[in-house]
C-alpha cells in the first residue's frame, strides 16, 4: 500500500499549475492531488479556485459530490468491496456479516484493529467471478470474509 508524503501546500500549488490549462481541469487536478497525498486537503480549495477562476464553493461542492475524494489522510489500507446486485447474488451481504462477526471488521466503519478500512463500492466489473474486491489497485475475485480480512492485514 502506498505511503503518502504529508500535505505540502507548495507541491499542491505546482501540481495544480501543471494541470490548470486542461479543459474542465477540476477532476484531473483532484485526482492528481489525491494520488500524490492520498487525499485532498481543504487547504487545496482556495488554490484550485484561484487557478481555475471558480468560487471556493464551486470547488468544495465538486469535491464533496464524488465518493472517491477524501478530505483527510486515508488509513494504511483501503479495500473496496463490491456490494452490487451481481455480488449480492453470490452472498456478499453474508460476507459483510461474517467480517463483522468473525473478524471485527465493520464495512464502511472500522478495520477491527487493522489500520484499514473496507469500503462499499457498487460494481467492479467482475460480475461473473464475484464477490469481488479491489485492493491496492488489484482486482480480486471469488473473495470470502477470510480473504478480505487478510487483505486488511496486508496479506494477499
Amino acid at each position: 500500500m502506498a505511503q503518502y508524503p504529508a500535505w505540502d501546500q507548495d507541491e499542491a500549488r505546482s501540481l495544480i499549475a501543471g494541470l490548470a490549462h486542461l479543459e474542465g481541469a477540476t477532476l484531473p487536478i483532484l485526482h492528481a492531488l489525491q494520488e500524490e497525498f492520498g487525499y485532498v486537503d481543504p487547504q487545496a480549495v482556495p488554490l484550485i479556485a484561484e487557478a481555475l477562476n471558480q468560487s471556493r464553493a464551486d470547488v468544495h461542492g465538486t469535491i464533496s459530490f464524488y465518493h472517491d475524494f477524501r478530505t483527510a489522510p486515508p488509513p494504511r489500507r483501503v479495500v473496496k468491496l463490491c456490494r452490487a446486485e451481481a455480488c449480492q447474488a453470490l452472498g456478499c451481504e453474508t460476507l459483510v456479516e461474517d467480517l463483522a462477526r468473525e473478524h471485527g471488521i465493520v464495512v464502511d466503519g472500522h478495520g477491527g484493529g487493522h489500520d484499514a478500512v473496507v469500503e462499499t463500492v457498487y460494481c467492479l466489473g467482475n460480475c461473473a467471478l464475484g464477490p469481488s474486491a479491489l485492493s491496492d489497485g488489484e482486482l480480486i475475485g471469488r473473495v470470502d470474509a477470510d480473504r478480505v480480512a487478510a487483505l486488511c492485514g496486508g496479506r494477499q
Binding site: E23, A25, L27, H31, F65, H67, N126, E138
Partner: protein
C-alpha cells in the same frame, strides 16, 4: 535450442482477479528451469470467465486452451507437454472450436482475447483501421448514412438510433464540436466496456475517430470510471500509441483531418453514466443532471454540439464502415439490428461475455450457455439491464433479447447485463436495495428521485416489518408512479422498475411474517 512456443496468458482484470499474474510468472519460471523458449503474450480475455485463467498455446493445430489454470498446475502442464498441445486434465481443446465461442457472432469482440491489446501491429493484421481508412474516403454524410443503414442503436441502454444522433451533430453549425465516449459502466452485471477497454482499446479509438470525421469534431474525451484501474491504464497507453502512430493528431492517418482525444477518470458516481451529468463532470463540476432540451447533440460539452455514445456503440462503428451498414443490419430482429454483447453474471455456473445477434432468448443464454446457477439451486429471479432493470421470473425467460420484446414485459435491455439469482434471494430486500442505491447515488437535482428514494427505503422497511402492509403497499405503488412520471432522468425514473417487478412477480416476499428485529427505519 528448441523452437519458441507462443503461450497466451490473459491480462484482463477478471483473469487477473483469479490469479493470471501468478500463472504468467509460473510459466516463465518453469520454462526457464526446463530450458524451453517461450514467448508469453498477455492477451485480453475470451470472455469465458469461469475458465480463467485460460492459458492458450499456439500449435500447428491452432491455439489449444487449458483452464482454469492455477500457478501450481503449471509444472504439471509442462510435464504433460502442453507447449505441444498434449493431453492434460485441464486441456479444453482448440479454443475457437469450443462450443461457447462457436455459438457466438463476434463482430465487436472479434479481436478481444485473440491479440495483445496494445499491439498496433496485431490490430492492423486482424483487420483494424480498415473502417477508418474507408471512412476517410467518404464525406461526413456518407459515414452518417452508413451508420443509419446499419440500424445501430445506442448500446448504453436507451437504444436511440446512433445515425440520427450523428446526423444532428453533423448538421449543427459550430466552430468546435466534441466526441464524448461514455465509459462510466456502472451497472452491476455489466463488464463489456471494461473487457473492450482492456482487450481491444484501438477499436474504441478507431470508432471515436470515425465519429469525429463524420460530424466534424476535432476533440474527444473518453470518460472511464475510477473503479476500472486496469482499463484506464490500457486506454491511456493505447491513446499514446495511436498518437505516435499518426492515427490521432493533426493529420489522422495522413489525411487532412484533425482529431485527438484524452482519457478522463470518474470519481465514484453512478450518475455519471447519465450523459448530461457525465458532461457536467467532464466540465469539472458536480455531476448534476441537466434538463433536456437542449439535447447534447446541439449543446453538449462546454455548450458545443457533442456526440455522446456508449463504448459499445463506438466500438461497433469500425466493423460497420468496413463491411457496410447493410451487413450489420442483416443480424438481429425487428428494430434491434446487429449484435449485442451480453454479459452474464451473478449466481451462474458459466458466466462471461456472449456476443450474439439480437433475438436469442434469455433462457438459451442462462441455461444453455450459462449452465444454470453456480450454487446448483433453482433459478428464482433474473435481473436484466442493471440496477434499474426489471427482475424477471424463471417463467419469463423465453423472452428474446430485443429492445421492444423486453419493453413489452415491463423490462429493459439496458447495457445487456444479466444477473442470475437462485432461490435464496429475498425479493423484498432487493426492492429495498433498489431504493437505497438510488438514494445514495441520486444527484439530488429533482425531488422525486432525491426524496422519493429515501421514502421508498422507509416504506419497504415498514412492509418488511409487517406495519400496515395494505396501506404501505398502496403508498409504495403511488410513490413508484410519481418517480416514474416526474423524475428528470432514468435514475429516479427507472428505480421503480426493479421495485415494481419484484412486487408484481414475487409478491409473496412482501407478505412474510415480520422478522423479530425490526429494520432501522420502521418505528
Amino acid at each position: 535450442m528448441s523452437e519458441t512456443v507462443r503461450i497466451y496468458v490473459p491480462i484482463d482484470a477478471a483473469a487477473l482477479s483469479v490469479g493470471a499474474e501468478a500463472v504468467a510468472r509460473a510459466v516463465a519460471q518453469e520454462a526457464q528451469a526446463r530450458g524451453r523458449n517461450v514467448e508469453i503474450v498477455r492477451n485480453g480475455s475470451r470472455g469465458m470467465l469461469w475458465l480463467e485463467p485460460l492459458v492458450e498455446v499456439e500449435t500447428s493445430k491452432g491455439r489449444i486452451a487449458y483452464g482454469p489454470v492455477a500457478a501450481k498446475d503449471v509444472a504439471g502442464l509442462f510435464e504433460a507437454g502442453f507447449e505441444r498441445g498434449e493431453a492434460h486434465k485441464l486441456r479444453l481443446g482448440q479454443v475457437e472450436e469450443l462450443d461457447w465461442l462457436r455459438r457466438q457472432q463476434r463482430l465487436t469482440f472479434e479481436r478481444v482475447g485473440v491479440t495483445d491489446p496494445l499491439s498496433l501491429a496485431d490490430y492492423r493484421r486482424l483487420g483494424g483501421l480498415k473502417g477508418l481508412e474507408k471512412a476517410l474516403a467518404l464525406s461526413g454524410q456518407g459515414i452518417v448514412d452508413a451508420i443509419k443503414a446499419s440500424g445501430l442503436r445506442g448500446r448504453g441502454g436507451a437504444g436511440f438510433p446512433t445515425g440520427i444522433k450523428w446526423q444532428t451533430v453533423h448538421d449543427a453549425k459550430a466552430e468546435q464540436k466534441y466526441i464524448v465516449c461514455n465509459g462510466d459502466e456502472g451497472d452491476s452485471g455489466t463488464f463489456a466496456d471494461r473487457m473492450l477497454f482492456e482487450g481491444d482499446p484501438f477499436l474504441l479509438i478507431e470508432g471515436m475517430t470515425i465519429a469525429a470525421i463524420a460530424v466534424g469534431a476535432t476533440k474527444g474525451y473518453l470518460y472511464i470510471r475510477s473503479e476500472y484501474p486496469h482499463a484506464i491504464r490500457t486506454m491511456q497507453q493505447a491513446v499514446l500509441k495511436a498518437r505516435n502512430a499518426g492515427i490521432l493528431g493533426a493529420s489522422v492517418m495522413g489525411s487532412t483531418r484533425h482529431f485527438d482525444m484524452e482519457v478522463r477518470v470518474g470519481a465514484g458516481a453512478y450518475i455519471c453514466g447519465e450523459e448530461t451529468s457525465l458532461l457536467e463532470s467532464l466540465e469539472g463540476r458536480r455531476a448534476i443532471v441537466r434538463a433536456k432540451p437542449p439535447i447534447p447533440a446541439l449543446q453538449g460539452l462546454f455548450g458545443k454540439p457533442t456526440v455522446v455514445n456508449n463504448v459499445l456503440s463506438f466500438a461497433a462503428v469500425p466493423w460497420i464502415l468496413d463491411h457496410g451498414g447493410k451487413a450489420y443490419a442483416d443480424y438481429g430482429m425487428g428494430r434491434s439490428r446487429g449484435t449485442l454483447p451480453v454479459q452474464l453474471g451473478g449466481n451462474v455456473k458459466r458466466g462471461g461475455l456472449i456476443e450474439l445477434a439480437f433475438g436469442i432468448s434469455l433462457r438459451a443464454i442462462i441455461e444453455e450457455m450459462g449452465g444454470g446457477t453456480l450454487s446448483g439451486r433453482p433459478i428464482r429471479a433474473v435481473q436484466v439491464g442493471g440496477p434499474l432493470g426489471a427482475y424477471l421470473t424463471e417463467k419469463q425467460l423465453d423472452t428474446p433479447m430485443d429492445y421492444e420484446a423486453l419493453a413489452g414485459i415491463g423490462a429493459m435491455l439496458g447495457h445487456g447485463g444479466i444477473v442470475v439469482f437462485d432461490d435464496s434471494v429475498d425479493m423484498a430486500k432487493q426492492a429495498r436495495f433498489a431504493f437505497a442505491f438510488c438514494a445514495k447515488e441520486s444527484c439530488g437535482k429533482c425531488t422525486p428521485c432525491r426524496i422519493g428514494a429515501t421514502r421508498g427505503v422507509e416504506i419497504v422497511d415498514k412492509i418488511i416489518a409487517g406495519h400496515e402492509r395494505p396501506k404501505n403497499l398502496a403508498v409504495l405503488r403511488d410513490l413508484n408512479r410519481l418517480m416514474t412520471d416526474a423524475s428528470l432522468c432514468a435514475m429516479g425514473g427507472l428505480t421503480p422498475m426493479p421495485v415494481m417487478s419484484a412486487l408484481s412477480h414475487f409478491s409473496e416476499d412482501f407478505d412474510r411474517p415480520p422478522p423479530e428485529a425490526l429494520p432501522q427505519a420502521a418505528e
